[in-house]
Amino acid sequence: MELKEIIIQKLNEHFPDAGFEFSEYINEFNIKLDKKFIQPVCKFLKEDSELEFLLCEDITAVDWARRKKRFTVVYHIFTLKHNYRLVLKCDVEEDDCNIDSVTSVWRTSNWQERECYDMYGIKFNNHPDMRRIYMPEDFEYYPLRKEFPLMGIPGSLSLPKK
């Protein structure tokens, strides 16, 4: 059985309510799921002895601007055992702009989630240190949102006195 099928079978068996949507795009296997299940699903994918997705390569987000569920949080995870990469996606609404943190699963996701918060304003619940990572801490905007102008908002970032 192919690894992809094993993953589908195991996930459907363990999380029947998670609303999985499986798809494949440019040789990468994508799984869309309900945001409530992200932490347990990640924990399962990492700790299952057949899969062992030990590496969380990247956490980022997409701003769709006009969609009802405005953001999609994207997780790229990798298993060294099978040399296989997996993409997890969760839709997040603008009114309810938060998702559970996976820092308890992969410690590297600490800074990746902070970056995602800094650029998109998506809060990660149960994150140990939910602060901005690149921009100054008193900055009020989220630069990678679609409504943010490329040249920024004048006066929002301070310069030293001449």
């Binding site: 801490e137 490329l150 920024g152 970032l157 301070s158 310069l159 030293p160 006195k161 001449k162």
Partner: protein, 173 residues
């Protein structure tokens, strides 16, 4: 500003003393290498034996601002970094000069973006701008020669009533 602050006239003794001071000063410019990004590589190349900044007496790159009199800002300055650059500039003893090396430092360059300062002249008094992305080491040496000519033309009385700068306190650090 030391001895030269006492010199105000245009007499023979004063002008000759100024000439000696300027001669000594311009041939021993200590650069503060503010290497922030890729231009710093070309700045290092300017210091190596091939281009040899030592020919102009500037081989002593001091990594402490308190021993320098020329700041070479080599690289992209972001808003967050601008406070650090200014703080280091403020720590340099007078008289001091600034070279804005490369397109990013002079104008923001290709980083036309919310996070990058569009030209360090918004918060620093720049003496020479160097074109290029990054500039060749020869170009940096040319800028240094310009600085030397500028130093050679300074008069002691220019320094007399210079206002002492207030140190900027970085709030968010």
């Amino acid at each position: 500003m030391g001895l030269e602050a006492k010199l105000s006239g245009d007499g023979f003794f004063v002008t000759q003393l100024e000439a000696i001071i300027n001669w000594a000063r311009k041939n021993s410019v200590y650069p503060m290498p503010m290497g922030i990004s890729c231009c710093a590589i070309e700045m290092m190349a300017a210091a190596d034996p091939r281009y040899d900044i030592a020919r102009f007496g500037s081989e002593v790159m001091r990594f402490s601002p308190r021993q320098c009199d020329l700041m070479i800002v080599a690289g992209t300055v972001t808003y967050k970094m601008s406070h650090v650059v200014r703080k280091i500039y403020d720590q340099m003893p007078d008289p001091k000069w600034v070279i804005a090396m490369g397109a990013c430092t002079s104008t923001g360059g290709m980083y036309r973006s919310y996070s990058v300062v569009q030209g360090i002249d918004q918060f620093l008094p720049v003496d020479v701008y160097v074109a290029g992305c990054p500039p060749r080491p020869d170009n940096l040496l040319n800028a240094l020669i310009h600085i030397q000519n500028k130093i050679g033309n300074t008069r002691a009385k220019e320094f007399q009533n210079k206002k002492r700068l207030e140190l900027n306190v970085i709030q968010n650090n």
